[in-house]
Symmetry: C2
Subunit: 650 residues, 2 copies
């Protein structure tokens, strides 16, 4: 029983080593947090926390690789058996006892590069599925949950164009350029293994997902234009989803014929079908789970928060179990929950869920970035091919350009509020590659092509995060993009141009009059918005709280009845008055509240106050979130510290 005891004793060496390896990461994160604090304290903006986490990861990677030499354990036994398959589970018969082994993957003992199979490094480079199943979901969910929905939906057309059409363009553009490079390298004899066209396309898909977390943190701090922020954030959130579906469609198409890695029109169509099916399936699943509301648990915040957390996670798992993409599902689940479920939560649960996902996002993100740094040295099958790397950098640059400039030109034909050339340059520059690109490339490093892709991707991530991320502040001043813009005022000034877009208006009215009352306690009761013939149905679907709202709305709206024609003139007036006053004051928000805490509250408050009553639109821009909507009197007394021209207009 000696062998058995060794396996199961709580203090056996492998277990202790695992703890030590995990401890390395925890220490890395701790170090990162302490340094971030120092940076924030000293207002040092050239290196974001993610870039910092990567540097620490790199340093520890160097130490692990060259500094520490753990004596090689002699436990590896090479079985030379007559098996012609590599099953997922293996039962080994050792003198009458059966031991179960699970497949971890292929160990490359290729002919061309010597592997120094170091057990420690192998263990530090742990299972990439961890990224997909544990680290990515909270990041993606948080992106959806903290989305500034108003700015997002105002630019929804452009965002969808960049995210869907742009990412597909970028993917194929990069794929084609890389295929040219690879063909050339094969002719020159610079490439040492198979590299098919599908591999090139796959590479294009994984490096097309942008992740401007660094840039957005700086934008948030400097209060850069909200539309630019919305375009970049929206694009990066959605193109993560697009890239993951795109790459898995390419992989799904790949094994059709083992030798036919060439281009086939039929197979591309099939891939496109897979893409559409998976994306729309994941989308509906996420929205469906998000829409499922729970309203009665308000008295027990702990239960409510727990349920909220479990529902979000089960969306991910359900999508994965159905063969769809959990990341996409969890993204739309987050957006839907922020829009509907959030209003039903008790105030304490609203805080708790926000803080919980903020923390999970923070930890997961920094973990991934410090892991990236570590991987550069701990991963043992790197293939650094200088020509491939140069080609990839060129392709990534051109692919981004092929996404941004032509699409912006086309979008500007339709947009009233044009995307200026300086905005386009910033979007081009802010195309950082981050967590999703890394996770997709480390997921499969079995073949030569994939190993080369992984090593190259790692360099692309490092370069973009350090150089592009660090250069954001100089870039903004070079492009003369104004900073210190107050999002609320900005919004009111611009709303005349945007929100009159009819698809947005129809959706907004439908959502506000029917969906919100049905799914939340806020908004007007359905009995007021539905036609009279649906009375009984409306009564049973409306929650008691909504009637309380109705009483208030009744009192207010008698004064406010305006028709749509008035609304546009009202907008025009507001614009004029703002410009005429000339003295647009910028309210500095307290920056201590973190990147998302305080702004988000305002965001929600403002969305609430943008009340539409029975088809009539009424905009009440208010700056003070503490003031409840019911206490509005006309005309309000001018508040001395702030010039507030919109309110005077009313």
């Amino acid at each position: 029983t000696g062998g058995l005891l060794k396996l199961t004793s709580p203090k056996d060496t492998p277990h202790r080593q695992d703890s030590a390896y995990l401890l390395i990461f925890i220490m890395l994160l701790t170090l990162t947090i302490l340094t971030i604090w120092l940076f924030k304290h000293r207002r040092f903006r050239f290196l974001h926390e993610t870039g910092l986490a990567m540097i620490y990861g790199l340093l520890v990677g160097v130490i692990l690789r060259y500094g520490i030499h753990v004596p090689q354990s002699m436990s590896d036994v090479v079985l030379e058996c007559a098996v012609n398959a590599s099953p997922a589970t293996l039962l080994v018969n050792v003198s009458g006892r059966f031991y179960e082994y699970t497949l971890k993957g292929e160990v490359s003992r290729g002919k061309d590069h010597q592997v120094q199979d170091d057990e420690m490094l192998r263990k530090v480079t742990f299972d990439p599925e961890v990224f997909f199943n544990i680290l990515l979901p909270p990041i993606i969910f948080h992106a959806g949950y903290s989305l500034k929905r108003r700015h997002f939906f105002r630019n929804i057309g452009s965002i969808l164009a960049y995210a869907f059409i742009g990412t597909v363009i970028s993917c194929f553009f990069i794929g084609l350029i890389m295929y040219g490079f690879v063909t050339f390298m094969k002719a020159v004899g610079q490439i040492g293994g198979d590299f098919f066209f599908t591999d090139c396309l796959f590479f294009g898909a994984i490096v097309s997902a942008t992740d401007p977390v660094t840039v957005l943190a700086i934008f948030n701090e400097l209060k850069v234009d909200v539309d630019l922020y919305a375009l970049l954030f929206g694009e990066s959130v959605l193109n993560d989803a697009v890239a993951i579906v795109l790459s898995s469609s390419i992989v799904a198409y790949q094994p059709a014929g083992d030798n036919s890695h060439s281009f086939e029109a039929m197979a591309v169509l099939k891939s496109f079908g897979v893409f559409l099916g998976v994306f729309s399936g994941s989308f509906s699943l996420g929205v469906a789970t998000g829409v499922m509301t729970f309203t009665k648990l308000r008295d027990f915040p702990l239960l409510e928060t727990g349920l909220f957390f479990l529902m979000s996670w089960s969306t991910f798992l359900l999508a994965e179990a159905c063969g769809m993409t959990g990341v996409v599902a969890v993204l739309f689940c987050g957006i839907t929950q922020a829009h509907y479920t959030y209003n039903n939560l008790s105030r304490e649960s609203q805080d708790r869920t926000k803080q919980l996902f903020e923390l999970l996002n923070f930890l997961a993100e920094n973990f991934i970035f410090s892991y990236m740094g570590l991987t550069l040295f701990s991963f043992q099958s790197h293939v650094f091919n200088p020509m491939f790397i140069i080609g990839a950098f060129l392709a990534v640059f051109l692919g981004r350009a092929a996404n941004i400039y032509p699409l912006s030109f086309l979008l500007n034909l339709g947009r009233r509020n044009k995307i200026g050339m300086n905005f386009q340059h910033v979007m081009m520059f802010a195309g950082l590659r981050g967590a999703m690109t890394f996770a997709l490339s480390i997921r499969d490093t079995a073949t030569y092509a994939r190993q080369m892709m992984f090593s190259t991707t790692l360099l692309i991530v490092f370069f973009t995060v350090w150089i592009c991320g660090g250069g954001t502040t100089p870039m903004l001043s070079f492009m003369s993009i104004p900073v210190g813009v107050d999002s609320d005022q900005e919004y009111s000034r611009r709303s005349t141009k945007h929100e009159s877009a009819w698809p947005f208006r129809i959706w907004y009215t439908f959502d506000h009059n029917y969906l919100k009352p049905l799914l939340t306690h806020s908004g007007p009761p359905l009995t007021a918005t539905l036609p009279a013939c649906c009375g009984p149905l409306a009564r049973c679907l409306t929650s008691p709280q909504a009637y309380e709202n109705e009483g208030r709305l009744h009192d207010d709206d008698s004064d406010f009845i305006l028709n749509d024609a008035n609304v546009s003139s009202l907008y025009a007036d507001v614009t004029v008055s703002t410009d005429a006053s000339g003295s647009r004051t910028i309210n500095p928000k307290p920056s201590a509240a973190g990147p998302f805490g305080e702004n988000r509250d305002r965001e929600l408050d403002l969305v609430e106050r943008e009340v539409t009553i029975r088809g009539t639109r009424l905009v009440l821009p208010m700056d003070d979130p503490a003031e409840p909507p019911t206490t509005v009197t006309l005309p309000p007394p001018p508040s001395p510290p702030r010039s507030d021209p919109h309110r005077h207009r009313l």
Copy 2:
């Protein structure tokens, strides 16, 4: 490359199945939360959430076992190779490519019971190390972090006696009884495998850890006597730690001689040494990490919370990596952090950390209990031996009695506030077995003896949680133990008897005058408490905030200078006046604030206000936590809604 693609494609079947299995657990938790809400809403107290989670787990286990038949995958290949060892890693050479396999454990294909090796059931019964490394740490940390320290330290002597001496008595008592039973069963021929004396002792160790989570939830809701609560809670928290160290000491002793599973005085001494070493090592590690304070991050609650979380987790990992016990370390880390670090956190971080660990504890606990229910049917190597089960129930009952009654008798000789017979009966009855017992028994189910232990342990947990947990409310009324006792008043009334215990007083003064000022911002500055010769040292160790406190204290203490003699007369007066007034009002606390949220705040407030100034003790019992300590005026105006006799006395 077909095989490779199958392994790595994101939509391959094993991955989807894993998601589905995890989804089962998430659904179980969701169901549990919804039912708990229903129970709380209807004030139904006979079944606690953990008992409920077990029932749901049982039901799903039955469905999985008998309802669903997944077609057996044919991927298992049995290799009949000439290996005479079972290494942790296996490299299999499949036609030139090397695949790495990791050992999962022994698959029992014993001769005596037919195994229907169902892959689904095997996967649902996942790696028991998950319990130790992921689920237990947050539960144990939360226990330490939410410990009501004042009541705990007041009864520290009795708690240590029950937890250390009591658990060791119980372990050996149960071990001896079981050894008798097993010897008898061997003689009768009722036992089908090896069962040594060390196995009996191991069984004694794992079933000696009590976990009265059910009972304490009811105690908290009914406001049962605070001393009884403190005794039960303190014992259960510490005996988890004792049991885990005890069981690993027994295992560490076991492999010394494979055939000498008999009793040896020398080996027992060695085990005892291991026990002491591991316990004190883990204890110091936990306290050391807890003491490490971070004070400058207050401006960034997200960073602060993140750091707090990472520090707690790294304590666990560090202890495991050093060959100590992470659970013990994390427990004392939690207690220390609640005592010192908590005071340094910003208010927002205090809320965030409390809520985070409350949520983690809630999820982990319910997960473990629903998993327990599931395991009864999904685990495939159960050995239910009726005689062993009867013996175990008897031994557990007698072992608990041998712990409680003799120790209470001895403790009552020294205690001024005796532990009454009704209290002893309740403590006897409340000896539930829960998460720790389960985790220890599932950790190793390789041998026949361990499998029989596991099955028996499962039944013991079910029985105690359902019967003893459900019977708590009737038991309390049967034993005529008063409910609805307000802990603050109770404390003031009793304090005269307890706190005069000199070790407690010395520790309290030392902690308050030197440790708290050194480690936190609260308490008097060191410049005031240290002798004059240490002036420069004191100045550099005291934080600026502490001087602000000093200013306030100076103003106040001129009126309040009392010496120790006065203090005891003050106590006596308070007691008399409380009793004389006769109208002890019980302030009903709002129960919506959850089991720990609101009470804890009060707890901390009260500890803060119990100010000791330069060796002089001063007790200011105040009920209103919103009132800051500086605003105390003498005599305070009587607050109309509450009778507050203590304040009038002053």
